[in-house]
Amino acid sequence: MMLFWLLLPPLLMFAASFSQSVWARRLLPISSFAVLIPVAILFRLPKPYALWGDYLVADDLNTYILLLASVVGIGVTLALLTLDRHVRISQKALYRFYRFFGLFWVGLSLSILANHMGIFWIGLEMATLSTVYMIKTNHTPAAHKEAWNYMIVGAIAISLVLFGIILIYASAKPLLGEKAMLFDALLHSAHRIPSPFLFEMGFALAALGMFVKMGFFPMNLWLAHIERAAFYPVAALFSGILESGVMAGFFRFSQIAGKVNYDHLFLFVFVYTLLTLFIVSFLIFRAKDFMRLFSLSGVEHMALIALFWVSGGTFAALLHFGAHAFLKPALFLSTGVLESGGRYRFAGALRGYHGVRGKLFWFLVGLFMLAIVSLPPSPMFFSELYGFGAMIDNAKASHHLLAMLGAIALLLVLLSVIFYRFVAIYQSMKYEGEETTKLVYGSEVAALAIFAVGLVALLLPGTLAFLKSIG
């Protein structure tokens, strides 16, 4: 029953996309607000709460992630109301967009809530396939090419994940039987898995698939190009919901892998994320338009989250994750306005806003721009502090303190490169370039406001305590 209410808004969206009337579209933001009710109830229920047998189980971690994804979903539905004002899109294509958005949301809700590796994978695959079409709604040759590109690379990534899942299943099946597909069962008996090598091989492949999907090394520019070619809500969905789903999977898999062999897990993720950050920070430095900039910064933050998580900084990772899940979709949605009229330049993007809505818009966007590089009041600042703290603690416990400290120093250098670039861009947006009038619509400001509220809510003592309790 609970599951039904959770999936109702996306299913409603799927159904509404078949009706051609405008009011159906107007109704959607309200109906998607309704998803907050079951999520809120889910928070109150005793954990772990079985939504569907062993297959879908809600615990603190995935309820939190589901909440983040739901808020992003609401924000995107709001922004979608005025999508046709900013870009050229036919009515039919817009309805199709809604249809596949609905499927995408269903798939990722399943993925996030899954306690079963198979369900996790099926949801992820469903979401991947539906995104292909969402990319395609933009009627340009570039978007067409990137849609195929996404289809192919996404299929490879997702196949790697399935491959890993099968190997993990094979490694634990002698011990657990059919239950070897369940995350919690695997977690409980991780010590007793008969063939750890097989498990680690499976984990490495699955993690590789998930990393590719999030745009880690070696596919750094892949997502950026796709998001550049697609309409801006697609990018918001990627960064807000899709990466939540993938990250949720990564959290689960790495929890188990950490119990099997913590050193291997840490080394693997550490080297991988450091490599990713190294490349991404320089790519950010060379980014020439908002989409690619934000997309690459998304890769950077995902790498940081993964790094914090495996370093034992659960709290830091979750806080960072939450902050990113609110900030990045907000920035992506605002890209629609910042680049209005097809002007991709940074200079002057934050000038030329009039009226209350306009003022509010540039204020919020400016705030978000600075918050994403973790200027102090931002939750990201605290999360990074805690995250580096966790890494140092981790280093103290191990035998290679110096190497770790060096790595952290390198990380800080890379982050400061990114920081410097973002501040420079912000200044250029605000103080350079000519002024052109840009139109901002109420629904977009509302979406940004929701994300801002969410961001503030993350810093409330109650939330922080909740996040600490998850760890």
Partner: protein
Amino acid sequence: MVDFLIGVFLATLITALFTTRLYRLLFWYALNSLTLGLLALTIGTRLHDRAMLLSGALTILLKAGAIPYILKVLSRKFALVRQIPPGIKTQYAIMLVPAILVFTFYLAEPISHMVQGNANYVAVSISSLFLSLLLMIEHRNVAPKIVGFLCMENALFLLGTTATEGMPMLVELGIFFDLLMAIVVINLLLYREEAQS
């Protein structure tokens, strides 16, 4: 018998790598899926696993029958290019394919000690995974890339049936469902392509 089917599976995949015509490629894919289905049926009968029998039958129906046929119809409908010379020259592919095979066989060696029963099949499925990746890489056209993706699905299915003696029924049905959805999405993508030009 199972060894024989595994051999046919790998052989059809390698032949598909060197194919330069689309319909021939679809034929090899269908044969590949057919051996996979027969394999699942054989192993299923040996283990008395009804779920595996069902998924084997589904594989034969869907992957060896329906999907190649649908792809053929689609390629007619959208007038896809049917001459698909591989981007990697055959001379290089001849060296590359054995290199991949040796690499994956040795890669899989420690694994195959751990999987009970059908140890070699893990190696074969890993190498067929890499070969289907190669199939996707070596072509510039869309259609063979799709076939490569489907072959990859087959390789994973092979791993699922042989390494774990059958995945849970739910997962297999889900994979089939996603495969059908992939076909729908491919249809839509192709449709758009036509509408554009």
